[in-house]
Amino acid sequence: MQHQSATRVVTQPQNDAAKSATAESAVEIHDLHKSFGGVDVLKGISLTARQGDVVAIIGGSGSGKSTLLRCVNLLETPTSGQIAIQGEPYRMRAGKNGALVPADRRQIQRIRAHLGMVFQSFNLWPHRTVLENVMEVPVHVLKTPREEARARASTLLDRVGLGDKLDAYPSFLSGGQQQRAAIARVLAVDPLAMLFDEPTSALDPELVGEVLSVIRDLAAEHRTMLLVTHEMAFARDVATHVVFLRDGIIEEQGSPTQIFESPRSEHLKQFIKSVA
């Protein structure tokens, strides 16, 4: 990936002993602010995910988790702050009222194509079959030859247990199957980082397990992930790093053991108790 040291404001994370010194940062967020119509939703977030990190983002409803995740692929434009993907910062410029606006649409599209997002409500394209959904971005955005994309898409769908549903339309699948297809759609772009926004919140309880087990496998392969979730046991299991968000700031962060076994802040203690 491109390095533009001159424009990088973000401080390098300190490599702790456990991580190799070569681990590159996949997502770097520095002093991110976001307000909606004067209401501050994110109030200075700095966060780094290195390659292979699984960062779980937890926190109460309305604490800004989705907004944070959506800033990473610029579905929301930050009011201020920097975000860099694999060392490449988004090019932004100051707009009329001082808030940032994207300066280079093509750059954003290029980076987005390598940042898959998994939504709470799946958001598959209902007018295309499952296979076509997974082929769509490789063929039309990444310009992969169709046959190659097809072969890869069916391998990926096989992997998430949908090998027999290639030609089904999304509305004929269960929620769990749709979400697994959505994960395959992300895998098809060889994501630099995967963004999950409460991937199991819209599912019936009996379907949650099948989706979590797919995500667990991906974590085991050391895929870089930012994962907003309410599944605390799962976060504790798969995350390398847990971030507790409250009122638009990171109130506490650390290893799963630190966060879940010896939380320091009162709010975090209460939060863990409330969702347990």
């Binding site: 599209q109 769509e136 955005v141």
Partner: protein
């Protein structure tokens, strides 16, 4: 636009198999209705005067052709105009939005007959006053009646469908477009690959009804001396002093056309099962 692909592969679970058609046709009320219709037909053939029919067949054929051409041309061109009309009402800048809304409201709020006469007698008379126009190649067309009939029908269809498309564009779930955005599609790609095909699919059921309505509006062109099927039938009535036979014939033809249109559009709709 070869890839618009509103209708994807024919793996349609809602498709009608021959066996299923037989079952549907075999339902008691349908059998009774069919028998009633058949006896009506037999009576009509025996008790009424159809001697005029063979002699007028060529003229009726020409009239039918004119009716179909008016319908098909105005539906196609009208729909092409309806797309931008609907689109700017959903996402356009305000002057365009305002213009489109004003156009749709004005056209939908006045009788089509009136619009047709205004165009034919008004615009036609204006054109005739300019020697430049009278001398140009266009005059060959502009002094005929059908361009005005076609124009009035097209404008009317565009206005009604503009309104339908506005609703259809607005109704495509935000998340489906957001997914496309998150995967790095350009605005044009989002429109072409997701927004447009989804909106058309959502509009199809309404569109089917509107095309039937359009068919039933075509006889209005007879009032500005376009010889469509209705106009031919009027000539028959004047020449033969028959009332019911020509009118019944007209009813039968319009019914057949409506039926065929309904079947064709339903087939189109079923090719992409969305199962809302």
């Amino acid at each position: 636009m070869a890839e618009l692909d509103i209708v994807s592969p024919p793996s349609s679970p809602a498709a009608l198999s021959p066996k299923r058609i037989l079952v549907i046709l075999g339902e008691p009320h349908r059998v009774v209705l069919a028998l009633l219709g058949l006896s009506g037909l037999v009576m009509a053939i025996h008790l009424m005067d159809w001697a005029w029919l063979p002699q007028y067949l060529p003229k009726l054929g020409d009239g039918l052709l004119m009716t179909l051409m008016m319908l098909v041309a105005s539906v196609i061109v009208g729909f092409l105009l309806a797309l931008p009309l609907g689109l700017v009402q959903v996402g356009g800048i305000w002057p365009l939005r305002w213009l489109a809304t004003a156009f749709c409201t004005a056209v939908r709020g006045t009788p089509l007959l009136l619009q047709m006469w205004l165009l034919y007698y008004g615009l036609g008379a204006v054109f005739a006053q300019f020697p430049e126009i009278r001398g140009s190649w266009a005059w060959d067309y502009l002094r005929q009646a059908w361009p005005y009939g076609f124009l009035a029908l097209t404008i009317s269809f565009a206005a009604y469908e503009g309104e339908v498309m506005r609703g259809a564009f607005a109704g495509v779930p935000r998340g489906e477009l957001e997914a496309a955005e998150a995967f790095g599609m350009s605005r044009w790609q989002i429109f072409r690959r997701v927004w447009f095909p989804r909106a058309v699919h959502r509009a199809l059921p309404t569109l089917a009804g509107e095309i039937i309505l359009q068919l039933k509006s075509t006889p209005l062109v007879a009032t500005i001396a376009v010889t469509d099927l209705y106009a031919v039938i009027t000539q028959v009535r004047q020449a033969t002093y028959l009332t019911y036979e020509p009118l019944l014939f007209l009813v039968a033809v319009y019914l057949c056309l409506s039926g065929l249109l309904i079947l064709a559009l339903r087939w189109l709709e079923n090719r992409v099962p969305t199962g809302q």
